[in-house]
């Protein structure tokens, strides 16, 4: 460790379990310990130790039953990375490499330093189980906006507390603004999505290196900050930034083309301008064309699968719609799904007939039915591709 905030180690006083989800259900914050414990190579759990061991005993039994080790749970609501490669040991997490320009480098971590705990939660191998430093950081940063590392400095053998900044300097981030030429078209529930994309090859339309999504608030132009993973950047590739604004899954404004950005300069900036999107609403069932895209998807679920979208499905499809996925592709996914095709109990003829009827509002002729059956055989029963082809053909008419 070459630098960084140095302070006395303070024990964690909150002995309650982690907030919310059960990712730390087997473990409570630990109280450490003494220098002798560290230098003796033994980390002792002194808080609620018995309970910790009891819980772990159950878990270990499971691991043995499966013949495989599984790590404890974690939410993954953040892509936060400290920027280190590590090796888990019984005495903590040994840093084997610090990524240049990373937060780890900014706060002074060095190769061979050992991270003992994150905000009072021990990391590394504890009684045979591994507690992941990345997970613990994600958890603390996403829930508390801050974290403190207890680090053993490899140079002098001293323990130090190092705060991880909640808003680190943008060593790997694109900053910029988004303006619009249509300010009349703004609603409070709109979301702004900004994406860093790889445009090296002309056919690459969706190689997304980083993205950020926020609710549209404040005055134009809107500022943004797009953090990216430096490890995902290739030296000879070209990158650009694009943005769009969506309302209930429908793109209402977008950049006409991605704007090139040079990531080799420090703190690159990009200023974007949105224009209103004239994305047509063309659905196979015209009666539903007045619905918003996500409501349309929901109506397809009800109509075809006999149920409404779950919250999770709704979240996922809204995101896909906002990223420009045509609703028709989602319809094809529904019609090609096992959940839909299972209704026909292996009767391909009945399945194809039903899909054709839905897309064309009429029954297929014998010739059409035979053709699509043969096509499904050609496609080796890959229903999704078949439905996509049927959908494309129906939309040509």
């Amino acid at each position: 460790m070459s630098m960084g905030t140095r302070s006395d180690f303070k024990t964690e006083t909150n002995l309650q379990g982690p907030i919310g989800k059960p990712q730390s259900m087997y473990r409570k914050p630990v109280l450490f310990l003494t220098f002798s414990a560290i230098f003796g190579g033994v980390l002792a759990l002194v808080a609620n130790g018995q309970e910790i061991r009891d819980r772990d005993a159950d878990s270990d039994a499971a691991g043995q039953a499966q013949g495989r080790y599984y790590q404890p749970a974690q939410p993954a609501s953040s892509q936060f990375r400290l920027g280190v490669q590590i090796r888990n040991t019984n005495t903590g997490v040994v840093i084997t490499r610090v990524v240049p320009g990373s937060i780890a480098q900014q706060i002074g971590l060095e190769t061979n330093d050992t991270i003992i705990a994150v905000s009072g939660y021990q990391v590394g191998v504890v009684e045979g189980r591994t507690y992941d430093v990345g997970e613990e950081l994600v958890r603390r940063m996403s829930r508390q906006g801050t974290a403190t590392l207890l680090v053993l400095n490899h140079r002098n053998g001293q323990l130090v507390n190092i705060p991880v900044p909640s808003d680190p300097s943008p060593a790997a981030a694109v900053l910029g603004t988004v303006n619009t030429n249509d300010r009349t078209n703004a609603y409070p529930s709109m979301t702004l999505e900004v994406r860093l994309v790889d445009i090296t090859h002309p056919q690459w339309r969706d190689v997304v290196i980083a993205e950020t999504q926020t609710v549209v608030t404040g005055r134009w132009p809107l500022g943004f900050r797009l953090d990216y993973d430096p490890a995902a950047i290739r030296p000879n590739h070209r990158y650009a930034v694009e943005a769009q604004i969506s309302l209930r899954g429908q793109t209402v404004q977008r950049t006409l083309a991605p704007v090139a950005v040079n990531l080799s300069v420090p703190s690159p900036r990009v200023d974007l301008t949105l224009t209103s999107s004239s994305q047509p609403n063309v659905y196979p069932n015209p009666g539903a064309s007045t619905l918003s895209p996500i409501d349309q998807v929901d109506s397809w679920y009800v109509e075809l699968l006999g149920r409404k979208l779950t919250d999770r499905e709704s979240t996922v499809w809204q995101r896909e719609l906002s990223r420009g996925k045509p609703p028709q592709e989602i319809l094809a996914t529904i019609l090609g799904s096992s959940e839909y095709s299972d209704r026909f109990r292996g009767d391909q003829r009945a399945y194809i007939t039903a899909v054709f009827q839905y897309l064309n509002s009429r029954s297929p002729s014998l010739q059409e039915l035979t053709r699509w059956q043969a096509r499904l055989v050609q496609l080796r029963d890959v229903r999704l591709t078949l439905v996509q082809e049927m959908l494309r053909e129906s939309m040509k008419r």
């Binding site: 499966q66 974690q74 280190v84 490669q85 591994t130 997970e135 997304v208 490890a231 919250d311 999704l384």
Partner: protein, 326 residues
């Protein structure tokens, strides 16, 4: 059915690790961005799990947006049908709707004379289903007894009355509807529902296509089975929630069931060969990179499965020899 008692207990023990590390809370996925070097061409063969066929189609469709010259052949006849197909000249990925142990990989590698490796790519929430007229409302789990709770102590469970059914159905034996041997679900059903009982100690029928298990259960009021929760949706069968620790009841359809301690969860696995030099074929390598990226994991979620969590993803990357940055 100590059978079922043991079975569910094993599942729940399993879940102590597998159930809870499941990734994403609602709508979230974790992973690294998919950052390919260049578009690739060639043909990739995807074989195995029928359950995973739609997922494979979605992956391939998206993957081809970046690699339009690449072709994929998806041919699914059940997880267990995969192993002999690795002898193919084409780069082949086997899809298994269950976990694959290292010992199993060693055995299969020796038998097929090819070095096989595996990576976990997603989780599938399973559902215990019964006939809709079955009065049972849920299965109980007693953590202290490490078994299904019959309400009368830890007795062997063979009849519906052992599970608290007090109607005439209670006198009937529980009939398991099991998928045939080529499906990954069969292995799980045997491990978790049949456990160590001998064949003559329990009643079971075989169902050739897992998609037909729901129908098989509908035809017999005594029946019970285990299917993917994604396939249970929209069917007329009754899906049983599970009461954990005598209080909390979790359904496989709960939004965050996997992270809320619901125990019946299985891994979805991709198996792939290494060449004589110990290398993965470039197309296989690229496809695995895609599947384990944020982009691939979002598709997992789109298809109704559960994406991997941060540490599990990192673990898979380490197994594949890729850089992991915390």
């Amino acid at each position: 059915m100590r059978m079922i008692g043991f079975a569910i207990s094993a599942f729940l023990l399993h879940s102590a690790f597998v159930g809870s590390p499941l990734a994403a809370q609602q709508g979230d996925t974790f992973g690294y961005p998919y950052a390919p070097e260049k578009p690739l061409a060639g043909e990739l063969q995807l074989v195995g799990s029928t359950l995973m066929q739609p997922l494979a189609s979605l992956w391939v469709e998206d993957f081809r947006d970046t690699h339009p010259e690449m072709q994929a052949m998806i041919d699914c006849k059940g997880s267990e049908s995969s192993f002999p197909l690795f002898k193919s000249d084409k780069p082949t990925i086997g899809m298994f709707s269950r976990a694959i142990s290292d010992d199993e990989l060693k055995t299969a590698s020796a038998k097929q004379n090819v070095s096989l490796h595996a990576t976990t790519v997603a989780y599938d929430v399973l559902a215990v289903i019964v006939h809709p007229e079955n009065p049972i409302d849920m299965l109980r789990w007693d953590a202290e007894r490490s078994s299904l709770w019959s309400g009368r102590g830890n007795t062997t469970i063979t009849k519906w009355s052992d599970l608290g059914v007090d109607t005439p159905l209670g006198d009937a034996s529980i009939l398991l509807q099991l998928p045939t041997a080529e499906h990954g679900l069969r292995t799980l059903a045997e491990r978790f529902l049949v456990a160590d009982l001998k064949r003559e100690q329990y009643q079971a029928n075989e169902v050739a296509n897992p998609a037909d298990i729901g129908d098989a259960v509908l035809k017999n009021p005594n029946a019970m089975s285990l299917i993917s929760a994604t396939r249970a949706r929209g069917q007329k069968v009754k899906v049983l929630p599970i009461q954990i620790n005598g209080s909390r009841v979790v359904s496989p359809f709960d939004e965050d069931s996997a992270t809320e301690g619901y125990p019946l969860v299985r891994e979805l696995t991709l198996v792939f060969p290494l060449d004589a030099k110990g290398q993965r074929h470039p197309l296989i390598d690229e496809f695995l990179s895609f599947v384990l990226s944020i982009r691939g994991q979002r598709i997992v979620q789109q298809d109704g499965f559960v994406p991997l969590g941060a540490s599990v993803l990192d673990g898979q990357r380490e197994r594949l020899g890729w850089e992991v940055v915390k």
